[in-house]
């Protein structure tokens, strides 16, 4: 008990000042080599420049920031303590099982359907929303591997790349259309998933992480260097855009186009909006597919495998098939997203498929709360919009992005919507939910 009281005792202003001074001192030490001193290139030779005012501002900001933070934390703790002593049980509302969540999901769907109608003239909004949806789809795909099956995959971008390059090559070399390339690309990426899954079957946790990371890098290096196949660092350009059931989005010409067929005036935003709805439909199909899979024996086996692999094996579940199916399905969904990406951009190069992309997709899954479908949507919104909002101070946006990842994790280590509820639950009264 004494320890408890000690832990919660109110810090005096002097203590807070001392604490902030310590933080400022550390900030000073950290800042000297990075902020205080700077090497500038001058005629081929480096020269030292100094930025003492900036260093001073940084240290002062750390001092004040720590003081304020400490004060706020103390206030918050004091209130917690008071509430605990007043014996009012804290309301335990699990956000994840809240029926409200269903409503949020439907509202989000409504908003996303209405968005291009409301912002029809604002190309930027629709484009950004399309990017968000690509990440949502990637997040849902990776969620199968990481969130449901519990296999930590750091090279998910490889499947995204394989999907994009499959479509890029099939369309530019063999003249395939978007719709015929989509299933083929899905099958190819799924087999890549099995290819990656096979050697990693025996690995667990962090070994798996590094092997998947290596796999992602291998794919990227091959794309960079195998110039005959992939065009090397120049990538593949002029990839055809998808058409609306055979009607292309082009200025009126000899063949019927989307605009001429429906008697509309041609406008570029028709294509943008069409692409938006296309990825929306693909993403919703993904969601439907994954949530149905979760109710199948294979989906339940994924979740069981995540919770306890040994128990699963003891129950006679074939660990190999379960893992491989998770890899294959996750990879296939990533491949679909890749096909869409290639079709939307019209140009792909290995630069779009670096490790940081994998890290962002993984961050979406983990920040959203592993296994939560709606969490993925929220996290993609945060992670895509955050850098977009930061465009005014563009240089700082990746810095803020990194900081936000750390802060969100500290604030909610389980993700924004954390839950590990099994999809199916057996109730004592025999009823099923």
């Amino acid at each position: 008990m004494a320890a408890l009281i000690l832990a919660h005792h109110q810090t005096s202003p002097a203590e807070r000042l001392k604490d902030a001074a310590a933080v400022a001192f550390i900030a000073l030490l950290l800042g000297i080599p990075m902020i205080g001193l700077l090497t500038v290139d001058q005629g081929g030779a480096l020269r030292i420049a100094t930025r003492w005012p900036a260093l001073f501002a940084f240290v002062a900001a750390c001092f004040v920031g720590r003081l304020v933070l400490r004060y706020a934390l103390d206030q918050w703790r004091a209130r917690q303590l008071a509430r605990d002593q007043a014996d009012t049980p804290a309301k335990e509302v699990s956000l994840a099982t809240n029926p409200l969540l269903n409503w949020i999901g439907w509202v989000a769907l409504g908003v996303s359907v209405a968005l291009p109608i409301v912002f029809a003239e604002n190309r930027y909004v629709v484009d950004t929303a399309t990017t968000v949806l690509i990440y949502v789809m990637l997040g849902w795909g990776l969620n199968v591997v990481v969130g449901l099956a519990g296999l930590l995959d750091l090279g998910y971008v490889a499947f995204y790349a394989v999907g994009a390059y499959t479509y890029g090559l099939l369309s530019t070399q063999f003249g395939w259309g978007f719709w015929s390339a989509l299933p083929v690309a899905g099958a190819i990426t799924a087999s890549f998933g099995v290819l990656l899954g096979w050697p990693t079957l025996r690995l667990r946790g962090d070994y798996l992480a590094i092997v998947t990371l290596g796999f992602g890098e291998i794919i990227r290096i091959i794309l960079v260097n195998w110039t005959e196949l992939s065009g090397g660092p120049n990538g593949i350009a002029s990839i055809p855009r998808p058409s609306f059931f055979g009607l292309p989005f082009k200025p009126p010409g000899d063949d019927p186009t989307f605009a001429s067929f429906f008697g509309l005036e041609y406008a570029t935003h028709q294509r943008i909006v069409f692409l938006y709805y296309l990825i929306l439909v693909l993403a919703l199909l993904t969601n439907l597919f994954v949530s149905r899979m979760r109710r199948l024996p294979i989906g339940r086996a994924w979740e069981a495998m995540r919770e306890d692999e040994i128990a699963c094996k003891a129950m006679g579940i074939n660990a190999r098939n379960v893992k491989l199916s998770a890899f294959a399905i996750g990879a296939m969904l990533g491949g679909f997203a890749g096909v869409f990406f290639a079709a939307r951009q019209g140009f792909i190069s290995p630069e779009s498929f670096t490790f940081s992309e994998s890290a962002i997709i993984l961050a979406i899954v983990v920040l959203g709360g592993m296994g939560s479908q709606l969490g993925v949507v929220l996290a993609s919104l945060v992670l895509v919009l955050l850098p977009e909002l930061g465009r005014d101070f563009a240089e700082y946006r990746m810095l803020l992005f990194g900081a936000a990842m750390i802060l969100i994790m500290i604030w909610k280590p389980g993700g924004i919507l954390s839950h590990r509820e099994p999809t199916l639950r057996y109730f004592a009264n025999g009823g099923r939910r």
Binding site: M34, L37, Y207, I221, F355, G402, I406
Partner: protein
């Protein structure tokens, strides 16, 4: 033959650097069971500090090579270990005891943060320094091909061997080493025995950062250029080395580092320079397929 000898020398040098970084990964993994993704960037920070201090010393007109090397090493180790400490304190300690993935995400965030911080504060351009240690010994000449052992290579190997000896002594013989090893085995029991676990973990991070700092200085001397992106590739290679050697094992990290360095050097010389990273990862995958706990790692026994 001569080419092989040359590549052996190059590979060992490279491997020593990877090994130094890999120790940071393996120690942190051993003690708190997480991949410290930001470790490669700590190494990059150290390389930048080294560039700054070399330039500073040149500006003061200090031209004695041993003196400037010593000063740069000490300064870089000092500041970089503070970076290591801060990274642990801000990004990982608040997440102790949460899910396994949370610190990993936070580490990836920290890595992005450090990279962009250096890019913002020090500039995105490649920084070349004036050569510090030039020249070398011509070992032998066969058919017009001269095998050359550069002084910087000798420096790297000597420093690494010295550090490894000291480090092994620190871990196996001193009281800190015992605390560190006992934290690896059972953190709760260690804390019950009156050992400050948080302090031990902080010191582990600082030690790992210090070794990475030495690697950063060595690479700066060896290649003469740094940029803000070097941490990522070196970090991945070093982590691969740690896994190859068996994560959690210190001799394993060094062995893994040497192997990765050698594989890279020989592959680049005899097969293809573009695909040397593919070779590294492929060999890693093959080793893990047949020996999932690495070369020197103990197999994990899972109790039910």
């Amino acid at each position: 033959m001569a080419l092989a000898l040359q590549q052996l020398i190059n590979g060992l040098t490279l491997g020593a650097v990877y090994g130094l970084i890999a120790i940071g990964y393996t120690m942190v993994y051993g003690i708190i069971g997480m991949i410290n993704f930001a470790h490669g960037d700590i190494y990059m920070v150290s390389a930048f500090i080294a560039v700054t201090v070399f330039t500073l010393l040149a500006g003061f007109g200090i031209s004695s090579v041993p003196l400037s090397l010593l000063v740069v090493l000490l300064v870089a180790v000092f500041f970089t270990s503070i970076y290591g400490w801060t990274v642990e304190r801000t990004a990982y300690r608040p997440l102790r005891g949460s899910t396994r993935l949370a610190p990993l995400i936070s580490a990836i965030g920290m890595s992005i943060f450090l990279q962009n911080m250096v890019q913002l504060t020090q500039g995105a351009r490649v920084k070349p320094i004036a050569p510090v240690l030039v020249g070398g010994i011509d070992v032998l000449t066969v058919d017009g091909f001269t095998v050359r052992l550069a002084y910087s290579q000798i420096l790297i190997v000597v420093v690494t061997v010295t550090l490894m000896t000291g480090f092994t002594w620190l871990i196996t013989k001193t009281s800190f080493g015992r605390q560190q090893r006992s934290c690896e085995q059972d953190r709760l029991m260690t804390s019950l025995l009156g050992i400050n676990v948080d302090r031990t973990i902080s010191l582990t991070f600082m030690l790992g950062a210090a070794l990475a700092a030495v690697a950063g200085v060595m690479v700066t001397v060896y290649y003469g250029v740094v940029d803000f992106f070097i941490g990522f590739v070196a970090g991945i290679k070093a982590f691969t080395a740690a896994v190859l050697g068996g994560i959690g094992s210190l001799p394993g990290a060094m062995l893994g580092g040497l192997l990765i360095g050698l594989i890279e050097a020989f592959w680049a010389a005899y097969l293809s320079a573009e695909y040397k990273d593919v070779a590294t990862f492929t060999i890693l995958i093959v080793v893990l397929m047949f020996r999932p706990s690495g070369l020197l790692g103990r197999p994990e026994v899972e109790k039910v």
